[in-house]
Symmetry: C2
Subunit: 368 residues, 2 copies
């Protein structure tokens, strides 16, 4: 059986096609597209068709699970308008298909119901990630650092115990930090940076992004820098240095390579601090009498250089990179894989095996 999971964000859309066989996960194919909704809103149905075709090929359209964060995009006046547009686009792109929408309580509901209760399905994608990981580790803290945001998902006794059910609640309780591995404006990360032996205030423009920092520090390669840059130029280190120099109103002629690297290192530390703080906040609420020996599961593009580093800094002793367990694609696109798995479990009347066994490239399929 095949199932398609789609995770529609404001800047990136991700989709995963999973294949199950006798209740076990057999294979995953996934695609990710940088698709800035605030510029291309009208083309969403076309994008979804393309992404679907790329994964499904000539096969029959499988059942589709949808989750989103796109409704926050400022091309929509309200979240309600956003949810409607996203779901109508899905319906238009896959006529006649079974489409289910993930809600923030872990349910998969019909399109009409979702459009009627938009806040129930808005920003639900962390639920899919949490659900998937909860089948691997009964007690853990998931830290999923994407290109734009970081979700911290506590799992205790095999259940997601997140308290926030919408972005605002999560921003208030540490379950969501609006910082990511590529798209975060440096001006939103720091007020001052060390330069030439002193401290400089920073410009409040969009002059450079976290992607520039992580490129310069070799956390990512040029091929990982999949979003638009701040100045529309390329993703070479020279171009990234020019952008970063501009954050203190300088240019790459006024600041040397080492001076710009010093800026990058400082900003990186501050970004890790933000995630550490949120991990501590969530942990303080759910720890009970548990110790920091429970796993901290790192996922997303920033799994290694942000989630894991922050987890270690927060004192967790078992850091598990989800890509090592389920493969890189699954870690990078956990919500789209997760929602496809949830749909498979619902339709096949039981959990689909992945625990301890399945790896994107692996051969073990085991029912959990």
């Amino acid at each position: 059986m095949y199932y398609l999971g789609i995770d529609i964000g404001g800047a990136n859309t991700k989709a995963a096609l999973i294949e199950t066989h006798q209740g076990c996960l057999k294979g995953v194919g996934a695609v990710k597209r940088y698709f800035p909704l605030w510029k291309k809103r009208r083309e969403l149905p076309q994008l979804l068709r393309e992404v679907g075709r790329e994964l499904i090929g000539s096969k029959e359209t499988p059942p589709i699970g949808v989750t989103m964060t796109a409704e926050l995009c400022d091309c929509y006046k309200t979240k309600g308008e956003g949810v409607s547009h996203v779901l109508e686009s899905c319906r238009e792109s896959f006529p006649g298909a079974i489409i289910k929408v993930l809600d923030v309580y872990g349910g998969l509901i019909g399109l009409e119901e979702a459009i009627e209760e938009p806040l129930r399905v808005a920003a639900s994608n962390w639920v899919a990630t949490g659900w998937m990981v909860s089948h691997l580790y009964r007690d853990c803290i998931v830290v999923d650092v994407g290109s734009t945001t970081t979700s911290i998902i506590p799992i205790i006794n095999g259940r997601i115990v997140a308290e926030g059910r919408n972005d605002l609640e999560k921003l208030m309780n540490g379950e969501l930090v609006y910082t990511g591995s590529l798209r975060t404006n440096i001006a939103a990360l720091v007020d001052r940076v060390p330069v030439k032996g002193g401290w400089a205030r920073v410009s409040s423009e969009l002059f450079a992004l976290s992607g520039d920092i992580h490129l310069l520090l070799d956390h990512i390669g040029e091929e990982d820098y999949t979003t638009e840059t701040a100045d529309g130029r390329g993703v070479s280190k020279g171009e990234a240095r020019a952008r970063l120099a501009r954050v203190v109103c300088a240019d790459a002629e006024m600041l040397g390579e080492e001076e710009i690297l010093e800026l990058a290192r400082y900003i990186y530390r501050r970004q890790v601090d933000l995630i550490v703080e949120a991990i501590e906040e969530v942990w303080g609420r759910v720890r009970g009498d548990r110790s920091k020996d429970i796993p901290l599961v790192a996922a997303g593009l920033g799994a290694e250089f942000l989630a894991s580093v922050a987890g270690e800094r927060a004192g967790f002793r078992r850091i598990i990179d989800l890509s090592g367990v389920l493969g890189g694609d699954v870690s990078l696109m956990a919500p789209s894989v997760g929602v496809a798995l949830m749909l498979a479990s619902m339709m096949e009347g039981g959990r689909i095996g992945l625990g301890g066994g399945y790896k994107a490239r692996g051969q073990h399929h085991q029912r959990v």
Copy 2:
């Protein structure tokens, strides 16, 4: 005699035509255009021609004084490239005219010289403001809050005693704060905001601007909100509220009017804090045995609700709004008027009178 002063910024271009008579300032005409250089770079010569024609009419092209901050715009790879493009655009727009460029030491130099030494003329516009005010008050602190940035210019014994000669140095010593009355990204102003009895982290996107805050708090009217909004929508209060709600990933249906106003008030206080801090820093360096009885001169669009409020908060007892002394247009466009006055003084071989007398609408012309 007529003189044209042009202040070319990254987001706004301002120009002032002044008329002098027997060594006194007789009149000022001024225009301001929102012109986002990062989108319209190629149209700069055309803009300059239009602005010139609007002010000069059928008269002969007068001598022109140019100052800029546009070279920082990320449509230019380096400041050198920016300075060249801006000055070549001036030459193209006003063929045959006398054009002088303000340098950061207060000199007016030729185009060729300026293009050869771009860092000498980059970000020089505060010099024109300081020069003009130094003829009104021998000892004062000028706080000029524009749409995008705030310049703090100390004047002692009739001379500008600023220590920074470029933006980076000024960001380091408090003479430049990259915060303004319209264009500042809220994500660059605050990390957390009070909401529903708690504190929410903020989104790092460009969802709302300082202009939204000041519109909601009645500091500015819709007609003053002359820059592009964050979502490209209008400048009504309803639209501003929707933008501000999105900063905490909510929408105007999740947060009530009063809750959004509470956000605005908090962010406003934080913006004032940034300016207070910088005033204190500059003051600490230049005060000597002076007291806070010397005037704090507030200028720019944020003169009243940012510069004056910050000056009072910093303990200055004489707050002078430049618009009350020289008229609103001069206060709003101090650098373009200032550079025209500097050019007039240079060409007429003496200072042009404005002190204590001239007001944009007034009749007193007095040589200082």
